[in-house]
Amino acid sequence: MPIVKLNINQQTYELDVLPWVSLLDAIRERLLLTGTKKGCDHGQCGACTVICDDKRILSCMTLAVMKNGAAITTIEGIAEGDELHPLQKAFIEHDAFQCGYCTPGQICSAIGLLTEGKAKTREEVKELMSGNLCRCGANANIIDAIMEVKEGGSREQF
């Protein structure tokens, strides 16, 4: 079985995984980091979004063996001890979820969005967050939360 070395949330793991195990399944089933969600498992919902080498990706659409040596951040790795990440705080403040299932993917995706620095306007933030579906319909509040972190406050109509 291939040995895969993954740095996840700044901790190095060596896993023997079969070739067909997705990065998502390795994270959830082998490392028991279940914050990352398996929504559709087909690249359509964004719930499995993680940050891989500073880029947001879908962990369901890649294999663990393809990410040998990569540095990955999941939702469990973004707070500093008990101090929540600014996006986590903003999501709470803006009531940016109901059921919360899509939230880990939304927040990891938003971190990627802010790192990429391509979204200038609210319209562009909406466009660049479209890969993360929220079936509760909290999108307006999600965009509010991201806009607040991006530029320190915005409560426009969606």
């Binding site: 070739p19 947001r56 393809m66 391509k118 319209e123 660049l128 967050m129 479209s130």
Partner: protein, 339 residues
């Protein structure tokens, strides 16, 4: 899903060797379509050969003849946001950013974008006939719910459409696909890369088994002054096109001196008709001229029970996008209608 072996190709030659000697082997780069096809059992590879460790073809470079070479293993996102592409080929940049989602664009490779398979829902459903999935079994879309299907270039065997946005712009830009295989290297004009379904709908393109797309060349002319990509779909973002249009214009005053128009969402490949572009040369850049080009582009269009609306929608989109190309600075996120 089936089990498979996995190997990393150390070089292009290594990759060709590994895949060409095993007819159940496949290449993987971004994986965003392949992993999904495997989960649906539409692909059952014995061996996946990962191309990401190949040292070459990971960059975007300007060449001495004025063209630009896109490495096949550069991601769609890195291509769209590359300063050379934003400056010289903004039509390509806009088309890429109208497709998929930010996460998928970060993963998907340029070579893989050309090799996407159709999103026809009958292709994904193993319980119904599909000539593309199971040759000779029939087409469920022709008499089925065919709202998303082809109106141009289809056959009695298949009315599936090719889903890429990036490729619509590459077609308009006269890109060239460079490949490497057991028979050496080939440079394939973009219009000859993808196929119409004919009686072999299972074959999407002319790439051979074991042949690798190594790069894509963009000729010097990028239409960066007047361009537009318009994508019409059932939701504003993260959906495949019902109709899309890539337009590039060169103008002298308000007279068109050169034009390119490519259509997406309508056929088994990006749709271009040279006569429509010749028709526009020397004409004023206005709705009437674009309407004339639209009639030529849609000649022979055939609608089915649920997709006849695409014929008129495509004509209107061509006119609208021609006018949008006069004001490229007004392009909206997601390639929505502007101007």
């Amino acid at each position: 899903m089936n089990n498979f072996d996995y190997q990393q190709a150390a070089s292009i030659a290594d990759g060709i060797q590994l895949v060409s000697t095993n007819n159940k082997a496949a290449f993987v780069a971004g994986g965003t379509n392949l992993i999904d096809l495997w989960k649906y059992r539409l692909m059952e590879p014995e061996l996946l050969v990962d191309l990401n460790q190949v040292k070459e073809h990971h960059s975007i470079e300007e060449k001495e003849d004025g063209s630009v070479r896109l490495g096949a293993f550069v991601s769609n996102a890195d291509t769209a946001y590359h300063p050379i592409i934003e400056k010289r080929y903004p039509l390509l940049s806009k088309a890429i950013l109208a497709g998929a989602s930010a996460q998928i664009r970060n993963m998907a490779s340029n070579g893989g974008n050309l090799l996407q398979r159709t999103r026809c829902y009958y292709f994904y459903d193993p319980n119904v006939p599909c000539n593309k999935r199971t040759p000779g079994s029939g087409c469920s879309a022709i008499d089925g719910y065919n709202r998303i299907h082809a109106i141009l270039g289809a056959s009695d065997n298949c009315i599936a459409v090719f889903p890429s946005d990036m490729c619509v712009a590459l077609a308009a830009l006269d890109a060239v696909v460079n490949t490497s295989g057991t028979d050496g290297e080939r440079s394939i004009p973009f219009s000859e890369f993808h196929r119409l379904p004919g009686d072999m709908p299972e074959q999407d393109n002319n790439l051979r088994h074991g042949e690798i797309i190594t790069s894509i060349d963009l000729p010097e002319k990028g239409f960066s002054g007047n361009y537009s990509y318009l994508k019409l779909r059932d939701r504003h973002s993260y959906a495949f096109a019902l109709v899309s249009v890539a337009t590039g214009l060169e103008l002298s005053g308000d007279i068109i001196t050169d034009a390119r128009i490519a259509l997406g969402g309508l056929a088994h490949k990006p749709w271009r008709i040279n006569e429509a572009e010749l028709f526009l040369k020397g004409k004023q850049a206005n709705a009437e001229s674009f309407a004339g080009a639209a009639e030529i582009l849609l000649q022979g269009a055939k609608g089915f029970k649920y997709n006849s609306f695409k014929i008129e929608l495509a004509k209107r989109a061509i006119i609208r996008n021609g006018l949008m190309a006069l004001h490229p600075e007004q392009q909206l996120p997601g390639a929505r209608p502007s101007a």
